[in-house]
């Protein structure tokens, strides 16, 4: 029987060894999170259940707690506007949350564009499209800097005039107009032109959240890496595969790169349970648990030189 694999080809091995459900655990949780967050905003206008008002740019939960997007507020500040208190408190709550759990959790667990780009990538695999126009992964930092500069020069919240992340979120909650074309363009970019083009290379919102969560506490750990069979499933499942090698082969069995979206794709895809969720301070006791390891981990960056696997 052919295995149905909704999240992508690399999970085949994991499905065989762990079963379908466990090989799609984080994928299912992520989609549930993304869709239910959108529904939370949408059931207000649809059903009159107002748990949350507004959208991802700024919202009010249960008519009291404010939440605001810190990247939009930063652009607004660059444009010379001093925000009212509600928005500032809202942004502080969001900043603290993502600084703790990892900024790019926003990308993989909240942002609906991720569903679009993941689908494009899945279809790319199904159709066997291998054409890949190489882009620099740091292009997103360039666009981030440009967006902040343009905000300052023009006195507007510049990126919000084109931001497909906002267009899609707002579109689902308030109506999208011609914005679907922008989303379609991103889908086609990821499908036909560049592998993981938007989220992995261009999106400045992801870059901002990456910087925000650069020192986050919650991380992916490769604490079971002695069981690694070098099958490469994690690397193929990972939207930012360069983050994995240092954890798998480096001094510290932790994914410390700020690019990691903590999507759990590697946990799902690994047939031998190498990966798990952990905190930055939990350094694999499984590997002989030497006491000096915490100290050593502080000394190495996420991109430490590779050493030979055991």
């Amino acid at each position: 029987m052919k295995l149905i694999d909704l999240a992508g080809e690399p999970r085949r091995g994991a499905i065989r060894s762990k079963g379908w459900l466990k090989a799609h655990k984080y994928w299912l949780l992520r989609r549930t999170s993304q869709i239910s967050l959108l529904l939370l905003f949408a059931i207000g206008p649809w059903l009159g259940l107002w748990f949350v008002q507004g959208n991802f740019a700024s919202s009010r939960v249960l008519d009291s707690v404010p939440l605001s997007d810190p990247f939009i507020l930063l652009q607004s500040a660059m444009a010379g506007h001093v925000m009212a208190t509600a928005a500032l408190i809202g942004a502080l709550v969001v900043v603290l949350f993502y600084a703790f759990v990892g900024g790019r959790v926003y990308c993989s667990w909240v942002c609906p564009v991720n569903i679009v780009t993941d689908t494009a990538h899945w279809l790319r695999e199904q159709l066997g499209i291998t054409r890949d126009r190489k882009l620099n992964r740091n292009a997103r930092l360039t666009i981030l800097a440009a967006a902040l500069g343009a905000s300052m020069v023009t006195g507007t919240i510049a990126w919000e005039l084109v931001n497909p992340v906002s267009v899609l979120q707002r579109g689902i909650i308030f109506g999208i107009g011609f914005g679907w074309a922008l989303i379609a363009a991103i889908f086609l970019l990821d499908l036909c032109i560049t592998r993981r083009g938007w989220c992995g290379h261009l999106c400045p919102v992801g870059a901002f959240y990456g910087l925000l969560g650069a020192k986050s506490v919650i991380r992916i750990s490769a604490r079971g890496r002695q069981g690694c069979e070098n099958c490469g499933a994690c690397l193929r499942a990972c939207p930012e595969p360069h983050v994995i090698a240092p954890a798998l082969k480096g001094n510290v069995p932790l994914v410390l790169s700020r690019d990691c979206t903590t999507c759990g794709g590697c946990i799902d895809a690994c047939p031998s349970d190498v990966f798990s969720l952990a905190t930055r301070f939990q350094i694999a006791n499984h590997e002989g648990g030497c006491n000096g390891e915490t100290k050593m981990h502080r000394q190495v960056s996420g991109d430490t030189a590779l050493i030979q696997p055991k």
């Binding site: 009010r60 509600a86 440009a146």
Partner: protein, 227 residues
Amino acid sequence: MGNHNPKPRAKGTVSRRDFIAGAAKSAGGVCAAGFALSLYAESAGSQPVQALRPPGAIAEEDFQSACVRCGLCVRACPYDTLKLAEFGDDVALGTPFFVARDVPCFMCPDVPCARACPTGALDAEIPSIKEATMGTAVLSDHENCLNYRGMHCSVCHRVCPIRDEAITLEKHVINGKPRLIPTVHSDHCTGCGRCEEQCVLAEAAIRVYPVDIARGSIGVNRAGRRI
């Protein structure tokens, strides 16, 4: 990449040449992308004549830096007046506006939309809806206005929420005949748009425009005296 640096370098270090080239590339990229985005932002900054901002909106150029496009004002409005601009609308993407001829502002005394704004793009402290300056009504087409033609329509006068202050009927003699002409008083008109919405003509003869479009201003002569 033929001309490799002869000395092997430790991992994680870059040559000065590579560093300068990389920095220049990034700076160039930032400038190019920033310039393109700035041009677009400038072109998107003008407000079309028929799109009115919600009550309490700060000046349009400040509004562009303050509004985060969250739609809390839209949700707070009990009349479905406000919309967020979608791709393809003439208004800056995602910002709130209304078109008076479709659904005007019904001038809630407690101004819920402005109170809901978390960023200060709408003045949440606005003391009363009568302080709002969403626009100014203008009797833009004298020739087709029924009152000008000698009928007693006066719908715009009757539906005005601040009747006899914002719009009054003034006696004029036109072509030797007495007429009652709807007359807007801009110091009281909030630009709610009820008059434009209710105008009985197929195309409204009275319209609400953003204040800076609707109103003239007194200039100064070369000596600096008002003329």
